[in-house]
């Protein structure tokens, strides 16, 4: 879902929230003068609702991107602001959230699958198919070889202990849910997410 609000509307929303609290005092409210310059920069931007991916406050984000989804155009996020409607963050972001564009567009973002062969000191670019085929084959071989149907006491255990999986607690519920479903269907137990640490 995206929405279009003009900057003027945005500041009305923002100001209504700010006026009722002491938040504006804390230094995060944008100066109107600066805003009027930004007005032009943000004109025509697509605004997408999101939430900060860092901490568990879950501040509301507005992601401003260029591009209109036409076929010869790639959307590009170029500005991020706090969502003034959000009841917890009410338009503000901390230094992490405010700088999140540098995370989204980090030089360290990976763009294609790679493999590092045993003993090598370099990465090698590979295709998705090759990567997934090779990994799945490793999994299949290992699972077939080491799957435990019964333990030494004759209990049915149906588990696979020679593989483990760490899930990401910045991924969405939907990613987490599907990951759990797949991992357990394989019989894996060495399965945790950042909540463990």
């Amino acid at each position: 879902m995206t929405l279009r609000v003009t900057r003027r509307q945005f500041f009305k929303l923002g100001a209504a929230g700010m006026a009722t609290s002491s938040m504006a005092m804390m230094g995060f409210a944008p100066e109107p003068a600066v805003a009027s310059v930004r007005h032009f920069k943000l004109t025509g931007a697509k605004i997408t609702r999101n939430n900060c991916t860092y901490c568990s406050v879950g501040c509301g984000l507005l992601l401003y991107s260029r591009g209109d989804e036409s076929i010869n155009n790639v959307d590009d996020i170029y500005h991020v602001e706090g969502d003034p409607d959000h009841p917890v963050s009410r338009g503000s972001l901390c230094p992490k959230g405010a700088g999140i564009l540098d995370f989204i567009k980090s030089r360290s973002r990976l763009s294609h699958p790679m493999v590092r062969e045993p003993g090598s000191s370099e990465w090698k670019r590979i295709s998705w198919d090759e990567a997934l085929d090779r990994i799945a084959r490793h999994m299949k071989n290992d699972r077939d070889e080491n799957f435990v149907t019964q333990d030494e006491n004759g209990n049915t255990v149906n588990h696979w202990l020679t593989a483990g999986f760490l899930a990401a607690s910045a991924s969405s519920n939907e990613t987490g849910y599907l990951t759990h479903k797949v991992v357990r269907s394989l019989g894996m137990l060495a399965f945790d997410n950042q909540a463990r640490v």
Binding site: T48, C55, I77, R109, T149, N158, A168, G176, D192
Partner: protein
């Protein structure tokens, strides 16, 4: 959080302990400031360091890291002995009156049932005395010497002011002042909220610290109250959601649990988890366990899950160990028992203790798969980065795959904030290059495996061949499809006990009240049921109105369970159903049902005269001052020293070596050898994070790298003088397991403590910098940390260990 971010503003007192929210949760912390401005609330911080939270606090006190139970236990004793508890609340809403078995006891630092060889407890005696009807015996006068109240009183009578002062190293006038401030909230109309984070969890006694806090809040009548509660300020943006969805070695979605190997019988598995009430008529909501479980099995295995095969009971893996947590797993990896490992958005080389051991462990893998938007340290554990990662790639035979994924800005979906709010977000741009969403990667791997099992056969293929895959484009499961699946739908028409239709076949379930144990409902995570109903995606709601003016925006997003914002809120009203005071009104009985500003956490039509307890998930319906058998190391929190203690003994139990450290903690022998003593490593260290940083991720973000450019450690002026270190000098911090080099920040913010007759210096070590990213390179902080965890959760003891600071 039992409560939520905005509700912090309703508190009269905020106790920040085991966390530094001004720094780690800055925007959430504004509600603390709001409480100060609006409510004239007071903020108290207790922390080894004088933090950014402390800087705006009304009162701060220093504490030796890892001694919070002594402080809180002393507080419990103080509240009881000075009679500053909320009597009516304690009598009616806690288990204070219940009588404990005669053979239960506590001697010399250990509870009854300890088995020194295995380091575990036989917990049979940790239980109430049960009468002929199967219910707990009680003494409502609280006078019986074995009632929970009297046992608790006796237990904490040992936690005297002198003891607290000597163990915590906190001056007694500060202790007294804080205890007095806290005690003021024992009256109805005054509430304290407790905010904590990893400063409480990352200890070998972490879970029991949190329990001690909950006990304090029960005694003060602050649970279920507006502006009250025990509030975990969680770390990552969706760590709450992944916990709720059960992505932990022993769990299933919605806090259900996998069976142990001995639990071969499905009926026994269910019955063990179907917690029957321990007092007459109590709700004890877990009694519906089977409904949640069968609905999950239908979601995962569809038609293959039938009553005849016990709903595929044997298709789920069973546990041969209590937990296959990350320490256990890396221990096995180190022993060469693991061949393949997957890291989905997780950087264990940086995140797990004792980096050298983690490197050795990863080097023993046959293959490692890293799925991440960023180039992490873990993905290049095999690469030489000089002193920061001194490995020889030729000696490492692990095959490593790096699979690029999308990040939050490039995908739709929901994340759950610390307040249990499921908030939906939308993609704003495509990912870089060929990066893919994790669900597509999981689908790609799964389909390949399924194909191979279909074509080649192999080990126990049934769950793989029969796993449900409801997604229109099988290779691209859609977030909205997955969200509908975890909400659940009816497979057949569902009726209530009066034959009224609740839900038609094929419809989304309205909430978990509609779940059935006869296979007629499918639901991937029962506590999320209600998030995507026939009315659509509730997580995407954006009505921020607050009709009662107390910050309860029930129309914004959706909170589990059933959009309830404050847990246990029945306790916000007196036993007769009226609010304790007008200012703290949350829900109340209107003569026919419960109504108010929140969704009642109670059977809607159960009148106050029926006398049901407000804690409906508990078998007693009451807040548990006595944990029974639910904790590893005892029903009452007891102080044990960190595994690396700067005083080398436990002043509370000086004569029993078994009671020096957590007796129920699991320690692997090879790690025990790597524990230091204070003679060699005299300084007590703790780790933490800075406002400008988010763990190791922001080493990849330029702005953050600029704001806090270089690795530093904080040392007090006392230690600096002793070692001749000036501000800005380079120092080496050494532990028994490794070292880090950093710039010294010499500060008054860390005070020298007097502990048990010794002078103790504490050292603060931020984590962030590593050998990847755009930030300045440095040693990972986990070069230093010990490989031991909490006895219940196995969360590593990152907050208390020993180091030696050296000037370079």
């Amino acid at each position: 959080m039992t409560n939520h971010w905005v509700d912090i503003r309703n508190a009269n007192l905020i106790l920040s302990m085991g966390g530094n929210s001004a720094e780690a949760h800055p925007v959430g912390f504004r509600w603390v400031m709001e409480a100060k401005y609006r409510n004239n609330a007071k903020l108290v911080t207790v922390d080894p360091r004088f933090t950014r939270t402390g800087a705006v606090a009304d009162f701060t006190a220093e504490i030796r890291t890892g001694t919070d139970i002594i402080f809180l236990g002393g507080l419990i004793s103080h509240l009881i002995e000075t009679d500053q508890i909320q009597h009516e609340y304690v009598r009616n809403y806690t288990d204070a009156a219940l009588i404990v078995r005669e053979d239960f006891g506590f001697h010399d630092g250990l509870f009854t049932g300890f088995e020194p060889v295995t380091g575990t407890y036989d917990k049979d005696t940790w239980h109430y005395e049960i009468n002929d009807e199967g219910f707990a015996r009680r003494d409502d006068t609280l006078q019986h010497p074995r009632c929970v109240y009297q046992l608790m009183r006796k237990h904490y009578s040992r936690y005297t002011l002198d003891m607290v002062e000597t163990v915590c190293g906190m001056p007694r006038h500060k202790i007294q002042r804080i205890w007095d401030m806290v005690a003021e909230t024992a009256v109805p109309g005054q509430t304290m909220t407790i905010l904590y984070a990893l400063g409480w969890t990352q200890h070998s006694i972490g879970s029991q610290i949190i329990r001690a806090a909950a006990m304090v809040q029960l005694l003060l009548g602050n649970m279920g109250m507006v502006g009250g509660g025990v509030n975990a300020l969680r770390g990552h943006s969706n760590i709450q959601g992944l916990t709720d969805l059960g992505l932990l070695s022993n769990l299933l979605p919605g806090y259900m649990s996998l069976a142990q190997a001995e639990e071969q019988d499905y009926r026994e598995y269910i019955e063990k988890r179907t917690r029957e009430p321990l007092l007459p008529d109590e709700v004890s909501y877990w009694r519906h366990y089977e409904r949640f479980h069968v609905s999950l099995m239908k979601a995962w295995f569809g038609d293959a899950a039938t009553e005849a095969n016990n709903w595929c009971y044997d298709w789920l893996p069973k546990l041969s160990e209590p937990l296959y947590d990350v320490l256990h797993t890396f221990h096995r990896m180190h022993n060469g028992e693991i061949n393949g490992y997957f890291c989905q958005g997780f950087n264990p080389l940086a995140s797990f203790p004792h980096k050298a051991k983690i490197t050795e462990s990863l080097s023993k893998l046959k293959y490692l798969v890293v799925m991440d938007p960023l180039a992490t340290e873990t993905s290049e554990f095999w690469k030489n980065y000089g002193e920061y990662n001194p490995v020889n790639p030729e000696e490492i035979q692990t095959e490593v795959f790096s699979l690029p994924t999308t990040c939050f800005a490039e995908e739709d979906g929901a994340i759950v904030n610390s307040a249990r709010w499921l908030q939906w977000h939308w993609a704003a741009a495509p990912p870089p290059g060929e990066a893919r969403p994790d669900v597509e990667i999981m689908a790609g791997l799964f389909h390949r495996l399924q194909y191979m099992y279909r074509e080649e056969g192999g080990a126990f293929p049934d769950p793989i061949l029969n796993l449900t895959w409801y997604y229109r484009q099988p290779a691209f499961p859609g977030p909205s499809e997955l969200a509908r699946e975890y909400n659940g739908w009816a497979l057949r028409d569902v009726y209530d006990e009066n034959r009224n239709l609740v839900c038609r076949a094929g419809e989304q379930l309205p909430d978990f009240g509609a779940l059935r144990d006869d296979g007629s409902t499918s639901c991937g995570c029962w506590i999320f049921s209600g998030s995507w109903t026939e009315e659509g995606n509730q997580m995407a709601r954006r009505d921020n109105s607050d009709p009662y003016g107390i910050g309860m925006t029930l129309g914004w997003a959706w909170a589990w369970p059933v959009n309830r914002r404050i847990l246990y809120n029945r306790a916000s009203a007196r036993p007769d159903g009226t609010p304790w005071t007008r200012e703290k009104a949350l829900i109340w009985w209107n003569g026919t049902r419960w109504v108010g500003a929140d969704i009642p956490d109670f059977p809607k039509q159960s009148p106050p005269s029926a006398g049901l307890g407000p804690f409906i998930m508990n078998q007693t319906g009451r807040g548990q001052l006595f944990a029974r058998d639910r904790m590893a190391e005892g029903p009452f929190p007891e102080h044990y020293e960190p595994f690396e203690s700067p005083i080398g003994m436990n002043p509370l139990n000086p004569d029993n070596p078994l009671a020096k450290n957590n007796p129920a903690a699991r320690v692997f022998e090879e790690d025990r050898e790597n524990f230091a003593t204070f003679e060699e490593f005299p300084h007590a260290a703790t780790t933490y994070r800075l406002t400008e940083h988010f763990h190791f991720w922001t080493t990849h973000a330029l702005l953050n790298a600029i704001m806090q450019p270089e690795k530093f450690v904080e040392i007090g002026t006392g230690l600096a003088e002793e070692l001749g270190i000036e501000r800005g000098d380079r120092v080496r911090v050494v532990s028994k397991r490794g070292h880090v080099d950093a710039v010294a920040v010499v500060t008054k913010r860390i005070r020298t403590l007097q502990v048990a007759g010794k002078t103790v210096h504490q050292v603060g070590i931020p984590l962030h910098w590593g050998f990847k990213g755009v930030a300045k390179k440095a040693h990972l902080t986990n070069e230093l940390t010990p490989f031991v965890g909490d006895a219940n959760t196995q969360t590593p003891e990152f907050k208390s260990f020993l180091v030696r600071v050296e000037k370079l």
